[in-house]
Subunit: 312 residues, 2 copies
């Protein structure tokens, strides 16, 4: 089954203490689509300008990412520039040029409207709601967000949260959204806002997954060096959603349709963590261009070893 992915597509300039690179493929939809494509075909919804390099289009196509929903319009592609401080834990945005993104109104092609598995990647919640309005029978909707939208579009975000099956956000955002210091309380509070499932990302500390009276603590992969954290959250969401889509063999055939159980979501959270852990090993999507299914399966096994312990 295909996964529909909405989000930004950008050309990034990233500076780390060791290196600076420009015109990198970036944006939430780019990262999430490529991450998801390891598990399932993707239908991409986004916008770029006429300056968007053909090699990126080629990369998407090569990875079974359908581009019927990609608008290519006169003007320049969205640009973002950021700098990581010496410990790679803090990031400063240096500049943002909205360009063609400024007037983006995602209109789904007819063939996308019946999508069942949806990832509303990090983008303005008004656009996330607008895409949701166009879907005829969504089966499972995942939304990712960021602190910016809590600050500038909270009402619209709260309206979105009430409509989705799963919300993904990081620890600071969960605390900001709920006013709770305890992440355990924050997870419960967000579930009360609508979603059956909530994933709270904690960076180097892994991820917490909340369901109804169910809880999963996913470890972080013990990386010694992080070369570029950009897109890690988008890869997590994309890998997670792509894995879920891959397990829904045919949503129209009940015998092949798997329930989105908490057990399945545990695995999906690990798959998302695996893809994100690869992504931060290189700039932009360089590592994702070379990683293989065997690499992913091997690291999934390592995640099992990390947190395994015997009964008494």
């Amino acid at each position: 089954m295909s996964l529909l992915v909405l989000g930004s597509i950008a050309l990034d300039t990233v500076k780390t203490p060791l290196e600076e690179r420009a015109d990198l493929l970036g944006g939430s939809a780019s990262y999430a689509s490529l991450a998801a494509s390891f598990f399932s075909p993707v239908q991409l919804v986004g916008i770029v300008g006429e300056d968007f390099p053909q090699e990126n289009i080629t990369l998407f196509r090569k990875n079974r990412i359908d581009l019927e929903g990609l608008q290519v319009v006169p003007g320049k592609t969205f640009r973002w520039s950021g700098e990581y401080l010496w410990d790679m834990n803090q990031r400063e945005t240096r500049s943002v040029e909205l360009n063609v993104f400024e007037n983006f109104s995602p209109e789904l092609p007819e063939s996308y409207r019946s999508a069942r598995m949806i990832l509303l990647g990090n983008i303005a919640p008004a656009l996330q709601n607008h895409v949701l309005d166009q879907l005829t029978r969504p089966h499972f909707v995942i939304a990712d967000t960021m602190d910016l939208w809590i600050n500038v579009a909270k009402e619209e975000l709260v309206r979105l949260i009430a409509r989705v099956d799963m919300l993904i956000l990081n620890d600071g955002e969960a605390r900001e959204l709920t006013g709770e210091t305890s992440l355990i309380k924050a997870g419960r509070r967000i579930r009360e806002m609508g979603p059956s499932f909530v994933a709270i990302k904690k960076g180097e500390h892994g991820c917490l997954l909340f369901g109804e009276n169910q809880f999963f603590s996913c470890p972080a992969y013990p990386l010694e060096d992080i070369h570029d954290p950009t897109g890690a959250g988008d890869c997590f969401a994309g890998g997670l959603a792509g894995y879920l889509a891959s397990r829904q063999l045919d949503a129209l055939d009940p015998s092949k349709k798997q329930e989105i159980s908490f057990e399945l979501l545990r695995q999906a959270v690990v798959e998302g963590s695996v893809i994100a852990s690869f992504n931060v090993e290189s700039f932009s999507m360089d590592r994702l261009r070379t990683v293989t299914s065997a690499d992913i399966a091997e690291r999934y096994g390592i995640f099992r070893t990390l947190s395994r312990f015997e009964g008494l």
Copy 2:
């Protein structure tokens, strides 16, 4: 097998946003001994003044904590007073009265010198080294420490670290001791200083255990409310060490002596986390006074559920 526990014994005054209580039994050795006693007998090494309440002595004795190594001397018991801020994550020390602690020089009774399993609880590293000097054939030595000793007694602490089998410290302390921001690098660096094993406690994010080319990420128990975090780290160390001692049925009989393997340490880290998670549910050691072996076994099972996920 008995566990030898060295550390402080205190009368604490603790203030949280909801409550303030005085003259509570506290100190690293008190918490660690009571935590360990769920798994093994304890030989306690510490000092108190003549004002130390008899009911605390009774509590120790009732929990198979041997007090031959407890010095009761003229003067007042060590007192500590602290306050937790509203989110319970930050603590301010309000006052410290060293009292009898000021001239403490732990001298082991003859029967303690042959101890095989040792927990050097949080106390000045000079005292930890001094106890280590008196042991005739230690099998496995665990040391706990805190930021104070990194700041005021680093040389002595580094000398201690080189002599122990396992070091326990928290994330901030690991970063301060090594100058590494990455906890993964910090864990490796501390192992290079001597100990075969390092446990880095991360509070609400659980704990990391490092061995030679081995790594374990232990989840935190998802508590919504913490009533008093005092002693959580000491309970973790005590539970861990007590569990290891309980698995060494008879160190003199090779057929009954179990190797301290990484597998066994994974379980010990979880047992320590279980005891610590109970301890923070009430003031002082109130919760540990009522918790049962069945409670502990049940929560160990919950820890397994928290981080479990299926293979692909």
